[in-house]
């Protein structure tokens, strides 16, 4: 770990990686708590995979058509928001089963991403980066976008904290009070989508779901109110990211997988510990 600290002082790319991880942790602490309490993990998983379609399209536009200002994360934001809007619309307006649409988005988004990356000229290593994360690939442009996304997520959660809490706890009651439930639910999906985008470089599309759900789930064992759960989840997620990054740097392991494994181990230990002692609940 001391090697890691020394390296952190020496290398700007590591500091950027660490900052990206911390920014993502703040977002997933807040939004992950809604995902876990509202029990919409599957929607988060679907949106995560939808993101690949947007990243692939942006990558293709840049490499095959010379749209240089376009960052893959821009594509990720667009795809994630489109997916969130579609699920929100289906839920509010359509008789089609919501879970079928969620599964369709999951696979079709993925397929689109593979398609676009295949059609892009040059080396295809980026597919692996998007799928499994590569936190040291975070460039200053991505970092600026992450800061913006984090600020937006924080602002929206602080502004709509109470109505979002109300629709997660009892949607029907909120609707009867005249709260615009459909609109808020779509906002929640959009927040989840943006959070996923912040996590793509940290752990990759395939493993995003671990950081969205597990820190909030562990936090839920210790605190029983929404905003302290958010704070604790963000702290836990930060710790997993920093420690995971440190371990992976020292042992030369893939950072995303190390962070997720560490999170998974702590989650399992916390759940077993909680069940065994019976004291937390």
């Amino acid at each position: 770990m001391s090697d890691f600290l020394t390296a952190l002082v020496q290398h700007a790319f590591l500091r950027q990686a660490l900052l990206a991880g911390l920014l993502a942790s703040i977002a997933c602490g807040m939004v992950g708590t809604y995902v876990v309490t509202r029990r919409i993990t599957v929607i988060a998983g679907s949106l995560a995979h939808t993101v690949l379609g947007g990243m692939g399209a942006a990558y293709w536009l840049r490499s095959a058509h010379g749209v240089q200002w376009l960052h893959p994360l821009h594509g990720a934001v667009v795809a994630a928001l489109l997916g969130a809007g579609l699920i929100g619309l289906v839920r509010a307006r359509s008789r089609e089963r919501e879970d079928t649409v969620i599964s369709a988005l999951w696979a079709v988004g993925m397929a689109l991403g593979v398609f676009f990356l295949f059609k892009s000229p040059g080396y295809k290593a980026d597919l692996i980066t998007y799928l499994f994360g590569n936190i040291v690939m975070v460039d200053p442009a991505a970092l600026r976008l992450l800061v913006g996304l984090d600020a937006l997520i924080l602002l929206l959660v602080l502004t709509f904290y109470h109505p979002l809490l109300a629709i997660c706890f009892d949607e029907e009651f909120a609707r009867l009070r005249g709260v615009r439930v459909g609109w808020l639910y779509t906002l929640l999906l959009a927040l989840i989508a943006l959070t996923i985008v912040t996590l793509v470089y940290v752990v990759g599309i395939v493993m995003v779901i671990a950081l969205v759900t597990l820190p909030a789930s562990i936090a839920g064992l210790f605190v029983r109110r929404l905003w302290p759960t958010m704070v604790l989840a963000a702290v836990l997620s930060s710790a997993f990211t920093v420690v995971g990054l440190g371990i992976s740097y020292g042992a030369d392991l893939p950072a995303g997988a190390t962070i997720v494994l560490l999170t998974g181990v702590v989650y399992a230990a916390a759940q077993f510990g909680s069940a065994w002692s019976g004291r937390f609940r």
Binding site: H162, A166, E172, R177, V179, R180, R224, R225
Partner: protein
């Protein structure tokens, strides 16, 4: 059925037709709930109690006929209703405190963004005091007993400052002593608002409310005193039911009426 009759109806149902595909629920039902009354909607499971509630709240639309709430359309007027859902409807493990839950009653079309105001907190706290749960305000909802949860959900309904309190199965899964306490509270609230509750348990509610609406494809009104007649409607062929009026268990008397005690 006294002076109440001169006041305008809170709920007015005329020629109500409603059904689900292949399954008609109401065919020309009519009913009226008067201001200040204490009414229970009873009937067997699948008889249309919940459907009627959703029609009154404007969550469902009649196919024909009309449902009027405070003389207007339910969707526009339901802000005046304090609604308490069945307790199984909310996730008991959800991370909220008692005060958080009561404050949800203060949300509305004009109150979506930002923190609650001091007046909102005051109203929510008053509602908790009224249901004798103010001392639990900082406790997690998950740590409460079944009876306490019902009271907190009633407090949330009261925090809406309603003219009509609508409760779906408030007595389900509560033991008889806790049920009696709950009815004492509802009687007190009935002094200033109309109280309507849905129940599958005719014998319990008939001791407390003044009017009973029997819902089984149709809606029939009975003063609570004439409950044996109501029971005869519900359970045709079961004469002599007056003998078991105060019994909590209707074993063998009906087609769909089962005691539901012992659930936690």
């Amino acid at each position: 059925m006294t002076a109440n009759d001169t006041r305008p109806p809170v709920v007015e149902i005329r020629d109500l037709h409603f059904g689900y595909p292949g399954q008609p629920v109401f065919t020309g039902a009519k009913a009226e709930i008067r201001d200040g009354s204490f009414v229970s909607i009873v009937g067997p499971n699948g008889g249309g109690k919940t459907t009627l509630l959703k029609l009154i709240l404007g969550l469902l639309q009649p196919e024909r006929g009309s449902v009027r709430l405070f003389g207007g359309s339910p969707a526009k007027q339901r802000g005046r209703v304090g609604y308490m859902p069945q307790h199984a409807h909310v996730d008991p493990q959800f991370p909220v405190t008692v005060l958080d839950v009561a404050l949800m009653g203060r949300l509305g079309p004009g109150r979506m963004a930002g923190p609650f105001r001091g007046t909102d907190r005051a109203v929510a706290l008053r509602a908790l005091s009224e249901t004798e749960t103010a001392d639990l305000r900082d406790k997690p909802f998950s740590a409460l007993s079944g009876g306490q949860r019902q009271r907190v959900l009633i407090a949330r309904a009261l925090a809406c400052e309603p003219d009509l309190l609508l409760l779906d199965e408030p007595t389900a899964s509560l033991d008889p002593t806790v049920q009696d306490d709950l009815f004492t509270l509802l009687h007190r609230l009935n002094e200033r608002m109309t109280v309507v509750l849905v129940s599958h348990d005719v014998s319990t509610v008939s001791r407390h409310v003044d009017t009973i609406l029997c819902v089984n494809q149709d809606i029939d009104e009975h003063p609570a005193g004439a409950i044996s007649g109501a029971l005869a409607d519900l359970f045709p062929g079961a004469e002599g039911l007056s003998l078991v009026r105060h019994d909590h268990h209707h074993h063998g008397h009906g087609d769909g009426e089962h005691p539901r005690g012992g659930r936690s």
